[in-house]
Symmetry: C7
Subunit: 248 residues, 7 copies
């Protein structure tokens, strides 16, 4: 990476109109743990690959419940993500208290993005070093959003985030056209297959320790499927090589 | 790009009286998505070319409704644009509440420009990295304004913004003299033709996915024409090669 | 321009007692659009040469009404000028409200200058990058003042500002002795002749699009003469080559 | 260590998305005194190796009681640790006052982590240069958490911290599978054996002066075992060479 | 002027105990317009040489009335001087309002000096770039004070300030012993003669346009003598070559 | 000392996790005047070697009474020490007022340390450049504490501070085992002997001018022994060469 | 003077524990005008050598009355001294108002020193560039104190300050033993003799213009002896060459 006089302050534009500190914060997201989010007409699913620093410690959680109808998957600086997650929980609870209904997913995502934007324009702070995949369900249906340190957010049918996410994205691009009408089970399996693509060959692969699944949908509050509860899906995954072949 | 000791602080003039950080922020506008705005006596139209990072995601919205009589097209940093759009919506609503009438378009544009100017004069902030094309209609008729990171704004009959906007501008300069008396349909078609000029040759061109049209006019609240609703205009566009030839 | 360690902070004196950032801000004024102001015993007149970025846009206004008895011509950063113009309007209106009479021109100019001075003495701001020619009429007669980014202001019989203003100044110096007793028409023509000197030879010259005239005087509220209304004066100007010769 | 232009400000991301100042603060933790924490189903135990600057002074305390059900072991800057310890005591007491029950261990750890995160995102402060091993017992059982200057925290079955902690970690990794069902005595002995691994060969080893033990568990408020009280365990340790052999 | 690492911040002492930024501000005073102040037992007189940027503009005022018993002559940055002059007027008026008597001259000068001192000790401001000659009369008699950017002030029998002031000072030093018992007319003439010494040989000399005289004394409120009113003194000056000779 | 890019800001960690500015502040302590503190079961004693800049001035006090049961010896920047001493006096008095009992020595020392820690973590301040030896007596017995600029504090049986303190420390290490049961007189003599070790050979040695002794103990409020009152101890010291020999 | 990276910020310690900016401020004191202070059992005397920039101006005052029982002599930046003098006057008056007795001299000196210390520890200010000799009399007798930019203060029997003060100090060291029982006249003469030592050989020596004497003592409010009133002492001084010889 070349030497650059415009890349150490968040309030400085480069001569080509870029804000390098925001871009560097996005690098922190790219090197976070990998995760996949996808949706059908009725469900939004997030699956994450958890990491552990050693076998002595538990795996680091990457999925968090925000409210009954919203959950998030984080990639990047965990401590920053916690700040944003707390913010989302508060905003969602406040909205429910004031309006006696659930906050719409995009509205909550916009609030997170606005909060992030502030950190890109004032001296003396740094951008949040975290990206979120937000899965939610509201009167407009199932949603998958990605938020960025820049204050941007994107609406996706399916997306992956974190290290080696390109491989998962390739899987998703090949298969996403069928997601809309998938059953929940099929949707979860697609998510796991995409996630599996992000694992280097010499790794042990997906297992009940390192996989977490989050599901939200119509009359289906955001639910975490973890540990043994993931085994039925992982077992189906093991036997599906032919299925994936068929897809390819 | 040459080394410059006056270009990293918004509060610093260069020896030739320039504020480089403002100019760099304008670069962010130039590299945003392309858009075109034009007006007749009765209508103001904005057309934008939306981008998508991949086929998994939806196209990024570039047109936003501010109020019944005003809409904007953005180019540059989306998160910054969101801040300004929210500001415009609040100011417009407040005005309506206090004066029981619609805010005049130029007055609202001036407020945005004043807000932008503040970011060019105090240490510790950066200019907004976004330009807006504002289309509106008020008792003075149809309006097209462009706002800049510098706090300047310009009144146009027709204008384009963003990457490759020079090509669209050339089209507009050849044709703008007839815009005043155009029908709405003709005006939209002129806008789409100008926008088409901003597309590199090897691209797929305009289609119902990547084109958004915003219209506002006399007794015609600001309306977004998107997706399938754009097809009638796109179809007319396809059959109009001869027309454009005639123009040239 | 030589390398200088004292020229990047507004709070730093050079070893020779200069504040370079103030001087650089004055450069922004010199490169603004050109304008001319002059006065007789009864009238003060400002004439400006407007610029347009392209034929698609309207010409940028350079004359602004502050109050019935005061108007300004700006040169430099337009957004900064807007801030100062708003300030003058507020101060003038407040004065009228409190004292039930018009604010004296010099008093208002002093307020602008004091506001500008603050920006030359505290860290974290930059000077205003704009100069104003203020034309006004009060119980002391007609006035022309120039304000500067430094917080200085000057009282003139006639003056020009902006790019190529030296040529206009030369015309004014040759002719100013007769201004005091001119008719309004003659005064305007002198202003236009001086303004014409600032136009490079290969330009189209003055026309009803690029010229604005502001007049204020005894029982004559500040009035803008623009577009077609300028034609009588421009026509007289075309036929006055001999007059100018006679003057030279 | 190489020269780096991104490592002197807490608000600066490096081009690879790292915040070097946070990483440097973690170095302060690595060079602190060594400690070990481990848990069974019913107990959490922390053991620390105290240092003394000379025989004239008492050994520096590294274990602190936070509340009846929580204690901490510190590694890094002692003065920073005191700030965090006071904060934990206050939060725990406030919680008890408001809710009339003990704060859950993870909740308190999260508060410390959130407080630490703030110091990684705003200009003008530095991260806390201390890591904590938190041992606690609540309705969810025994807990061992580690907090970091980054605002991250980790849930462990067993862990070591500070200088030469890798040797202790190796011992823990070989033996941790049996910890869950250990008696308290066995658990303490495992902790001491792991701690012994962090002592350079030419040192005097563990003794009642330099060892502190903290225990918390079901119906067992956090208790410090120090000075003579440690002798029974140290004596058992001396005679256990074969045991450790057996383990290896 | 040599390169210096201690001269860009007002809060930095050089290794020899100097504050260079204060000294540089004093340079701004030295390069201001020249002025002379002197006093007899009953009168204090200030005379100034006004400058004009061109014949189109009026001469810049350098003498200002502060109150009936005090006036000032400024040298240096005019906008800074205006700030201090306003401050003096306010303080003098407030004193009169509270104590129902005139403020003593030295007391007011001390206030100005204290205000200036603040600007030499806190980061983020710059010293005032102006020196004042204060002429006043109170129950202690006639006074001439000079204030400096450093916050120092000096009590003089006679003094000159601004560019080429050394020549005037030489005249004053030769003649000051007779000032105490001068008539007012003689005192003014001494002032004009001293001022004349500051004019380069090829200049036009003193005239009613470029000279201003301020007088204050016993039962003689501070009065400006300008324009035609200066002619009697200037005429006497023209005929006094022999007198000056005699003095030398 | 090598050139270092991490050592000029208190908020900057070095890549090895050190805060150099804190370490530099500790240098100021090392170069302060030397002092010794030691305790028996019933008494805590501090002895200091006072310095005088010349025979014209009195010796600088280094011992200060904080409260009846606490006194301090300072080494380093005297002005900083005064700030901390005032703080201790206030805290001790407040405690007595609120709780109607004496503050425990360690509690007061912790308050000083916490105050010092704040100065190591926020931009724009510097650490206190002073170390304190605190001698006190409370219900837990006699205490000697040392506080540091880092916010650390240490509990000692005996300790020395300031320049050449290593020699005194060597004496203390050889003899401290007998201190616990010393009489007060013996304890003072041990302190003086240790202090004598810090004096260069060519100096005049201890005398009633340069020695101060502070004593606190059971039913013995903190008392300063100065000037002539020190003579009995100094006389005993002169005759004790054999005693010291015996010890060695 | 060597190049130093630690000497431009008041909040920065050098690697050897020094705060260079404080030391540089002390240089300003050394280069101030010279003064001498000395005391007997009943009186404290300060004598100062005043400077004048030219014969046109009065001599700069260096002695100031603080209260009936306290006066000061300043050396260094006069404007800074004025700030401290005002502070002392206010504190002394407030004390008298609250306690209905005179503030003790050392207490007031401590307040000045504490105020000075603040300027050595916070970013964005500079130390006071002035040293004070404080002469006072209270129930403890006569006092001479010196305050420094560092926030230190010293108690002296006799001392000199400012340029060439070493020569005066040499005189004082030779003679101070007899001061305690001097008559006031003798004490003043000793002060003048010491002051005379600070004058370069080619100067005119002490005279009634450049000498000021301040006296305070038992039933003797602080009194300034200036101008003609100094002549009796100066006359005695002229005839005392033998006396000084006798002393040597």
């Amino acid at each position: 990476m070349y030497r650059n006089q415009y890349d150490s302050e968040i309030v400085t534009f480069s001569p080509t109109g870029r804000i390098h500190q925001v871009e560097y914060a996005m690098e922190a997201v790219k090197q976070g743990g990998s995760g996949v989010a996808l949706k059908s007409n009725k469900f939004a699913v997030v699956v994450s690959l958890k990491r552990s620093s050693s076998e002595l410690g538990s795996y680091q959680k990457k999925l968090f419940v925000v409210d009954d109808h919203i959950g998030i998957l984080i990639s990047g600086l965990t401590a920053d993500a916690r700040v944003l997650c707390n913010y989302m929980r508060n905003e969602s609870a406040n909205y429910k208290y004031v309006y006696e209904s659930d906050i719409r997913v995009e509205r909550l995502v916009t609030k997170v993005a606005d909060k992030s934007q502030v950190h890109t324009q004032r001296y003396g702070r740094r951008p949040y070093g975290v990206g979120l995949l937000v899965a939610g369900y509201d009167q407009l249906g199932a949603h998958i959003f990605q938020t960025c340190p820049s204050g941007n957010f994107y609406d996706y049918k399916a997306i992956s985030i974190g290290s080696r996410s390109q491989s998962a994205k390739t899987y998703l691009e090949k298969n996403f056209e069928g997601f809309a009408t998938c059953t929940l089970e099929q949707l979860i399996l697609h998510g796991l297959r995409a996630l599996r693509e992000t694992i280097p060959n010499n790794d042990t692969g997906l297992n009940s320790k390192n996989v977490s699944i989050g599901v939200v949908g119509e009359n289906y509050p955001f639910t975490l499927i973890e540990e043994e509860a993931t085994l039925p899906y992982l077992n189906m995954l093991e036997s599906d090589e032919p299925v994936e072949m068929q897809v390819n």
